[in-house]
């Protein structure tokens, strides 16, 4: 399964590397989202610093939706989806591969967004270990739930509106936990950030397991 996953991940990342859609479209979109948050908070500096972790993860969530839509839209051209089904690659491997590809793209985006909140919101980044660990876990969780629900909704006629509706409540706990972990790392709350990390690990594990188990059936049906 891992080899199949690597094949799919490599393919997806190569497609992105050549088309540069995430780079040219999703990254600027996330930047605009940050700017909009700034305007929405009326450039209130102290408030923005406090809110930065939450706004960061919201921006990741919105961009993640686009990244997931993209990972499936590349399959819809030229009957790629059917080729994928008939390729003999293990469905679980395809799932993991897509999750890895989406997660990698999102993690790179997060580096960019982190710079963004430092510059735009005057955040001070500390506690790098907790920040990085929670980012990896929550990104994986977002990617896993996204790819699984993406597969669910891709077969429908209303996928553009259905996917956000399905995904947002599912990802709400992940966003919450990630925000709290970052707030603890940045010193905004006295809570134990590592406990939130545990919660993140739990969710991510559940979403990954669920996706691995069900992707085969989903691919057949949709």
């Amino acid at each position: 399964m891992w080899r199949d996953a690597l094949v799919v991940a490599g393919k997806d990342l190569r497609v992105e590397g050549r088309s540069k859609v995430a780079l040219n479209q999703v990254v600027p979109y996330s930047l605009v989202v940050l700017l909009l948050f700034g305007f929405a908070f009326d450039q209130d500096q102290p408030l923005l610093v406090q809110a930065a972790p939450g706004l960061f993860w919201l921006a990741v969530l919105f961009s993640g939706l686009l990244a997931v839509q993209r990972t499936f839209s590349i399959e819809s051209a030229d009957g790629a989806a059917d080729s994928l089904r008939m390729s003999g690659l293990e469905p679980a491997g395809i799932f993991v591969g897509k999750v890895v590809a989406v997660a990698v793209q999102l993690l790179l985006l997060e580096v960019f967004l982190a710079v963004g909140i430092v510059v735009l919101f005057h955040s001070r980044l500390e506690g790098a270990g907790l920040l990085a660990a929670s980012a990896v876990l929550s990104t994986t969780g977002v990617a896993a739930a996204g790819v699984a629900y993406g597969a669910l909704s891709m077969g429908t006629r209303v996928r553009e509106t259905l996917l956000p509706l399905l995904l947002a409540p599912v990802l709400a706990p992940v966003v919450l936990a990630a925000t709290e972990a970052w707030r603890a790392a940045l010193g905004f709350s006295s809570g134990d950030g590592w406990r939130w990390l545990g919660l993140l690990a739990g969710f991510t594990a559940i979403y990954l397991a669920g996706g691995v188990l069900s992707f085969g059936a989903l691919m057949e049906e949709t």
């Binding site: 669910l152 399905l166 947002a168 069900s214």
Partner: protein, 252 residues
């Protein structure tokens, strides 16, 4: 289908429906009139005779949905009945979830002064409601019955998980919400309050059952309608090709 065509009721729904109405009337009489106001909460305690029961029926709905979904997923048990049960449970559960949020919000405004607060229990219930709307939207967007059942069963499992976490939220997290009233080792509720609360569970339980039966039947009707539509479309096609021959619609 064994129930008469002309009306929507059968023996079962008549029994359920009338007893539900009777129990609701009893609940209203005892709840709003006979039972005394609380020492601490005053008149607001009367919310106790709606909100917990409605919330429990919300859980019941999603529980049934999850059960139906799992049963449908099980290879040897698979049958359209389980899928119908699942959608009925989800829709009725969603209605009760909405009622839970509304009554809870009003109670919150009355006793805490705010229409909403971000504690674990309220937030999880709101997420549950959003999930159920997603479930129903997903179902509406897939025409193939098999794919529809498969896709929705996955969301159903997630809804069930949320129900579990929501239920234990007052225990696992620090919340503003009241803890379990009934199943404590030393319950502080008794007398008229306890009796009325039990009546409320009975009343809303009957309402729940009545709604489930009707929703299940509605699903059966929808399926027939889809099949009929397909069959008659096929027949229309065939008779187009051979205008001299009248093709008989096969009786089912």
């Amino acid at each position: 289908m064994r129930y008469p065509q002309a009306s929507g009721s059968s023996r079962l729904t008549r029994v359920l429906g009338w007893s539900a109405l009777a129990a609701l009337a009893l609940n209203t009489w005892w709840g709003l009139w006979l039972s005394p106001p609380d020492v601490v909460q005053g008149q607001f305690v009367r919310m106790l005779y709606i909100h917990p029961a409605v919330a429990t029926m919300c859980y019941a709905g999603f529980g049934v949905c999850a059960l139906g979904s799992v049963a449908w997923l099980w290879p040897r048990l698979r049958s359209p009945r389980w899928d119908r049960l699942a959608v009925a449970g989800a829709e009725v559960g969603a209605v009760f979830c909405f009622a839970t949020l509304v009554t809870g919000s009003i109670w919150g405004r009355a006793s805490w002064g705010v229409w909403w607060t971000w504690d674990a229990r309220l937030t999880l219930t709101a997420i549950l409601f959003a999930l159920s709307l997603g479930y129903l939207a997903l179902r509406r967007s897939i025409d193939n019955p098999h794919s529809r059942a498969l896709a929705s069963s996955m969301v159903a499992v997630l809804m069930a998980l949320t129900v579990v976490v929501d239920h234990y939220a007052t225990v696992w997290f620090v919340t503003l919400h009241q803890n379990e009233t009934l199943f404590q080792p030393d319950p502080t509720i008794h007398g008229w309050q306890l009796a009325t609360m039990l009546v409320s569970f009975l009343a809303f339980g009957l309402v729940f059952a009545w709604m489930m039966v009707h929703r299940y039947r509605l699903e059966v009707l929808e399926e027939r309608y889809e099949r009929e539509g397909f069959t008659s479309a096929l027949e229309a096609r065939r008779s187009e090709a051979l205008p001299e021959r009248r093709v008989e619609v096969p009786a089912r």
